[in-house]
Symmetry: C2
Subunit: 242 residues, 2 copies
């Protein structure tokens, strides 16, 4: 099947724009955050990301330098997580971690909000932290994604988190770390998009395993997908699985 | 049942020393590391720890100051986690996080080793990191525990991790974060004790839910137990459950 044929959402009566395989791959953050991941696995992740044309590799901070070096002049950028996955580090430490990752060459920062502070209503704390990290990222032209960990929040809390991230000038809101049980859902993506609007990105992550998962989330409004199953998803898609 | 009666390991033919309820409670790190934990829950954790006579409360860095303040002049100390739970932060960031927690009043640091580097055999990296954090803790008279995340390691890797922690002068080796699936087992505690010997502590953590779990791990050689079920465990024990 050619790439032109490999299109989703082009069925009769479907008003959504079609998605091609290149576009699908270009939405994927190829992700390896397992604590036991080794350098060889990080190298393979980078090589796959180049080969498939993924948007980024998403790695833990200790691997940023290696991934940057492995990707060389490729268009694939390195995303580093910060305060990950619990979000319960001190703001100063999250900021130092973000700056270090940026110094190491990361061009995207996926930070976890302080979930407990959001739940207890200390919105100022959550907002200040996001603002500081956003400023650090934007200072070097990097992108910042704000992980709100939907599975731990009520819909009202999800809305507040998205408003705060938008108000802080972040580039993306992101559903999940993948470490809290549960992951991206179509309804959460739609809710997040309804708050942040089309000028911000929405990254769906956690539990995305198949081309169907990926397409459903993109149709709901996700503009980026975080998954460790990128190669399988794109292969499935090219083979015609919707 | 009186505390004297509430003893374990005193059965006929049992050569292990008996454990009393006070001693059992004194081995427990009362733990609350859920990302959604709020300040009110941290306060309750501290109050329970005082009331039961636990060794410490174990909290995320953002809550250290609050826990220190809530515990006041109590004998219960505050343990903060560092690089938790993935262990894949940069060493400089782990060090900064530990120093900040110590400045905030933590008197115990539960750090996660760099698991990926251990698995790929970069022992020097793992050892240097532990040495730096141990020096920071010891400089202010604090205790450091080294989490090796047993569930991700082979027995040989567990042995190496324990040797490295011992060589770095750490105070405890600790089995698990509780976030990687799997937790403390009697066989892992015995293995860890066999490497580090009786002059170092062994903290069992992850999945400890009952008095039976707790006693089995103590009999295997654990000297500290990390659990969020401390009150239930001690109550069960006092009521005669072994």
């Amino acid at each position: 099947m050619s790439e032109d044929q490999a299109r989703a959402g082009a069925g009769e009566g479907d008003t959504q724009p079609a998605i091609g395989a290149t576009e699908l791959a270009g939405c994927i953050d190829h992700t390896l955050l397992r604590p036991g991941a080794t350098g060889v696995e990080i190298d393979r992740l980078c090589d796959e990301a180049k080969s498939y044309g993924f948007a980024a590799v998403c790695v833990n901070p200790v691997w940023v330098e290696r991934a940057v070096s492995r990707l060389g002049q490729s268009k694939v950028v390195v995303a580093s997580v910060v305060g990950f996955p619990l979000g319960a580090s001190r703001p100063e430490i999250k900021l130092a971690e973000a700056r270090r990752a940026l110094d190491d060459g990361a061009r995207e920062i996926d930070m976890v909000i302080n979930i407990g502070r959001l739940i207890e209503g200390d919105i100022g704390f959550v907002a200040d932290e996001i603002k500081q990290l956003t400023a650090a990222a934007h200072q070097v032209g990097a992108v910042i994604k704000v992980i709100i960990e939907t599975v731990l929040l009520t819909d009202d809390q999800k809305r507040i988190a998205c408003e705060v991230a938008a108000g802080a000038g972040a580039d993306f809101v992101k559903t999940s770390t993948g470490f809290a049980g549960g992951g991206a859902t179509v309804s959460d993506v739609a809710l997040m998009l309804s708050v942040v609007g089309p000028t911000m990105g929405v990254k769906a992550s956690g539990g995305i395993r198949t081309a169907t998962d990926a397409l459903n989330l993109l149709r709901a409004g996700a503009t980026r997908l975080g998954t460790s199953a990128g190669p399988a998803i794109v292969t499935e898609f090219v083979n015609g699985v919707r």
